[in-house]
Each structure stands twice: as C-alpha cells, then as structure tokens.
Symmetry: C2
Subunit: 153 residues, 2 copies
C-alpha cells in the first residue's frame, strides 16, 4: 500500500474517531479502540491484556477509565451478560443484538430483522424516555449442543 501524503493510516482513523468524540487523543486510547475493533465482546481485562502487548506501561485503571470515557462518548457499547464481567464492543448505533451461549459464554452478534428499533417501542413506556435497547438471547451454541446432546440419560 503506497500511502501518499493525503492518505490516512489506520491509526489516523482511530485518532480522528477519538477526537471526533470530543476526547483527547492518547496512545492508550488509540490502543484500546484498536483492540476493540479487532476483538469485539472483550472484557476490560481482555482489553487490558491486549493493550499491554503494545503499550506495556499501561495500567488497568487507565483501561477502565478509557472504556468508561468511550462508553460515555458513545464510541463503544457496554453490556453485562450474566455470569460474566461487562463486555465492550465498538459496533454502535446499528441496533444489533447478542446471542449468548449459556454453556461456554460465547457471544455472537445478530442483526435485528426489524432494522430500526425492534422492541425499541415498548407497549407502555411508563413515562420513560428511551435511549437504547439491549436485547440478549440466551441459548446454547452449536458446539455446546453437540457436547450436551449425548447426555440424554
């Protein structure tokens, strides 16, 4: 890839994404965003471990702070599956949902059939102003199904 003077590296894109959200651009922030793009559904600790591979001086608290800042700025989405620490991903604003495997904890994205706002309009909002909806399907993934199927005793 010949990168001419006008072209942007991947890191440049990350930087402008961060700045575009009104946040200062720092090395750990770029690293966190990069990790999240390559490994969605990561826990804070997983992000931390990945970031340390390139930026060994980064602290765990920095990662928590960055994830909180990104979540607040709408750059990443956080969700709390049962029996798991909070997970983070940067697919945001496209209204997709999650399949969670009860057996192995695998998380998979699913697009909603109704593209816009699925059950985003509850029958009775009780005066709430809804900002976002989190839809999580609990089930068993293909692998866990075959592992458990034999136990039909």
């Amino acid at each position: 890839m010949a990168l001419g003077p006008g072209s942007q590296t991947h890191a440049d894109v990350l930087r402008s994404t961060i700045r575009g959200a009104g946040l200062k651009v720092t090395a750990p922030r770029v690293a966190v965003l990069d990790v999240l793009q390559h490994a969605p559904h990561s826990s804070a600790e997983q992000v931390f471990a990945e970031v340390r591979k390139s930026l060994s001086g980064t602290s765990a608290q920095a990662v928590y702070g960055i994830l909180a800042a990104f979540t607040g700025a709408g750059l990443v989405r956080r969700f709390d599956p049962p029996d798991s620490p909070a997970l983070f991903e940067c697919r945001v604003g496209d209204n997709h949902h999650h399949l969670a495997c009860i057996g192995c904890g695998l998380i998979q994205d699913v697009d909603c059939v109704i593209r816009e706002a699925p059950c985003l309009t509850p029958s009775d909002d009780s005066g709430f102003t809804i900002f976002s909806a989190e839809v999580t399907f609990n089930g068993l993934c293909r692998t866990c199904q075959s592992n458990r199927a034999p136990q039909t005793a």
Copy 2:
C-alpha cells in the same frame, strides 16, 4: 379471613411452589420467595436484608445459594443491569421486559406488545438454540427527566 381446614395460607402456596420445582422446603427459601414476590427487582443483598428481618439467623451465602437454586429451577429470573448488582424477580415465563432508568436505577416491568416471543426469533440464530430473551430499555424515568430538564444550558 376464616381459614378453614382445606384452605391454604400464603406460606402454604410458597411451600408448594418450591416443592413443585423439585426443591426441599426450608424456612429461608420460603422467606426469599416471599420477599421476591413483595419486592421484585431486588438484589441479593436487598433480599438478604429483608429475610433477616424475619429469620435473623440466615446467612448471606444461603441467600446467594437459594437465589442460584431458584434461578436454576426456573422459579425466579435473574438479570444484570449495567452499573448494578444482579437483580431477581419471580415473574417468570410471561415474557416481559424491563425499563431501566440511567439516572436513578429504577427498574420497571413492561409487557411486550407481541405477547409470545418478541425478538425471540433473531434473523440469524447462527446455530444457537434459544431458550430465553432479555430485553432491556435504557432511558430516563419521569422523575429524572424533570430533574435534568432545567439544565438546558
């Protein structure tokens, strides 16, 4: 209320509910189920505090164990809102969803318009066998809206 020999007290109903789920009936279990019926969306600690009012000898670990047993038996439903410990409720199997207030943490039940399985059928289940769906709407409750509205600066 004249309770004749054939009638059931509330405690009797609780006991047969527990036994019906294949679990042994014990005082702390009855108490936990009772608390959950009167105060849905309770955290483990809230349940523990309530239970101790009537059964002062009960331990926190017992409550955790009971909640886990009830959840496994399908008697109660557990869900994990962001920025909050896990909550428990005994409305189960009626496919209702939750409104969560970002401001004050208030949780409110909502019935789904589509009565059976709302987004319970994702567009692509990726080979998963779906057991249940958790739908959480994040927003601001009426009270928090009026508290924040003035800050239009």
